[in-house]
Symmetry: C2
Subunit: 337 residues, 2 copies
């Protein structure tokens, strides 16, 4: 994990001032709420350094772009834009999922109420466009179109996520489609934006997008595992959190579809609607494991990373840059937060 | 009112196919919900022609652009984009305000739930950018930047609206700032986009934006009056709807600030928190009227229209086009829906 950490730190540092400049364009109320969410201040505006995201997406823009010959300054607008879209989706996600904490701090909706959370999310989505549209890069228009498409796919993934809550017959391929949207689209466009802003040819741009999409799928698989067995002190999520809400995550759906008797028992449990106790949650997690869902998700995440790395072959990247992108991909499957 | 109706019909007809094409890019679930909201189908997807918006914003893009020499086909992307941003804000507004009906039909959140309403709104905002970013116009980038700024102002207005609900000391100038954002920004950018896409000089672009902003403020003043005294069979809003929620609209705030004894009585009533009965609502509406808030709002709307028309002077517009823009401005103060 630590091998990629310095690169992530560098990525965050490179975009920090531009991200702050972008957020400073917002009106006072919206800026306060956005800055709080980003870990820059308390709810009363007092400056702090609170835990925030890892910055995987902006780092991916920077690494992909530099690998294809761009200077960091040509990439910052793209990196800031994906970080803003990511945070737009987090704020709306927290609201929709009624998650009251993120990084051990109350979420925007739980501090300022639902309407404000809707609006702050809207403001960050709009701001992402503003940042990219304001870039002097000759590739800015092309980058904006790529971000538009990815945002549409991201929203599609979230719509499926909400729709699946009401269904008991979700298939693994539907789950994969959801993850491709929810997580794959934005990581895909992160790598793609790097390539676009580097003025790379279409074949490289496509390859980098695929790289990011596969990393995104691996990321989501690990996220699903952490949502069942994760360490709450590190992720800020309680153990069994996704099971508590009987969420149809990939390891769970795989277990139901392919897991024999334990899978059947799991399916029966998923169809129940009472509030599950600790014992029931432990039992359900055990069923996912025994049905093979845990092992499958771990292997599948590895496979996705291998596919991601394979797409980098033949692009003629400098070994140093290629190694960076490889490390970033491996980081997401080795992370424990 | 009817003088502008044919122009509005023409505007809607001109953008209809492009708007449908844009919405068709959405995934199945999101497209269904968006199409329902736009009055194109029932919740099960059955096609209908349900009442929908008047299309003032796209018509304004078209009229402003044609007045400055653009062909309609050069303006359609801008017209579709503002209509999408408008509908994004309606869907999120209905959710935030808990309005269960629009145009006599259940709103998106009341049919599909809060999370889906958040997502459909997000999807339309993103789609607006996609439409504009996909335009081959040499002015598309400039148009996108104008729309970004206006969207930020729109969200600012909505943030103020939410913040005002928790305050009892809202001033008229704050109210005007909110209306400038909530309604002025998008009408302002509608006229501005027409000018930008026509390749007009900056002075014309600024003048057209001002025209749209002033029309927007007039529009909101009339909306505030309709929110108190409007005809429910036409607007779909019950009489006294804004009073029922003790909303600090412009005529109300004016009455409190300038309305002597009736204004004081109104202020006292606004500070109460019980559910008001019909008698109390009638009394409150009467107080707004006697305090002069109704008359002020009517006159102020007229003044704003006059200012809007004045900004068109000196642009050298062809009389036919200028007359169209004048009619559109007058339409918004004469409308009763």
């Amino acid at each position: 994990m630590s091998v990629a950490a310095p690169a992530l730190d560098r990525g965050r540092a490179l975009i920090e001032s531009s991200l702050r400049e972008a957020v400073s364009r917002l009106d006072d109320d919206t800026r306060l709420m956005a800055s709080y969410h980003l870990g820059w201040c308390e709810r009363d505006g007092r400056e702090v350094v609170a835990p925030s995201g890892k910055g995987v997406r902006p780092s991916m823009v920077l690494m992909a772009g530099e690998a294809l010959g761009a200077a960091p300054e040509d990439l910052v607008a793209g990196a800031v834009a994906v970080e803003l879209v990511h945070n737009f989706s987090l704020i709306h996600d927290d609201l929709m999922d009624r998650d009251s904490e993120r990084h051990h701090r109350p979420t925007v909706w739980s501090v300022w109420g639902d309407p404000m959370a809707v609006l702050v999310g809207d403001a960050l989505l709009s701001l992402a466009h503003e940042v990219l549209d304001g870039s002097p890069s000759p590739s800015a228009a092309s980058a904006a179109r790529a971000l538009d498409r990815a945002t549409r796919e991201l929203i599609h993934g979230q719509v499926l996520d909400v729709a699946f809550e009401r269904r008991s017959d979700v298939t693994l391929s539907e789950c994969l489609e959801m993850a491709a949207g929810k997580t794959g689209a934005l990581l895909g466009v992160s790598a793609e934006l790097g390539a676009i802003l580097a003025g790379a040819p279409a074949s490289s741009t496509r390859a980098l997008r695929r790289y990011g999409q596969e990393v995104g799928l691996a990321f989501q698989l690990i996220d699903d595992l952490l949502g069942i067995w994760g360490w709450p002190e590190r992720t800020g999520k309680p153990v069994f959190s996704d099971l508590r809400s009987r969420k149809k995550t990939m390891p769970v759906v795989w277990a139901v579809q392919n897991g024999g008797a334990p899978g059947q028992e799991l399916a029966t449990w998923l169809a129940e609607s009472d509030e599950p106790g600790e014992l029931a949650l432990r039992r359900a997690a055990d069923l996912v494991d025994r049905a093979g869902g845990r092992g499958w998700a771990q292997r599948e995440a590895q496979v996705r990373v291998e596919v991601a790395l394979a797409t980098l072959e033949g692009l003629g990247l400098h070994p140093t840059h290629r190694e960076q992108l490889c490390r970033l991909a491996r980081f997401v499957v080795e992370r424990d937060t």
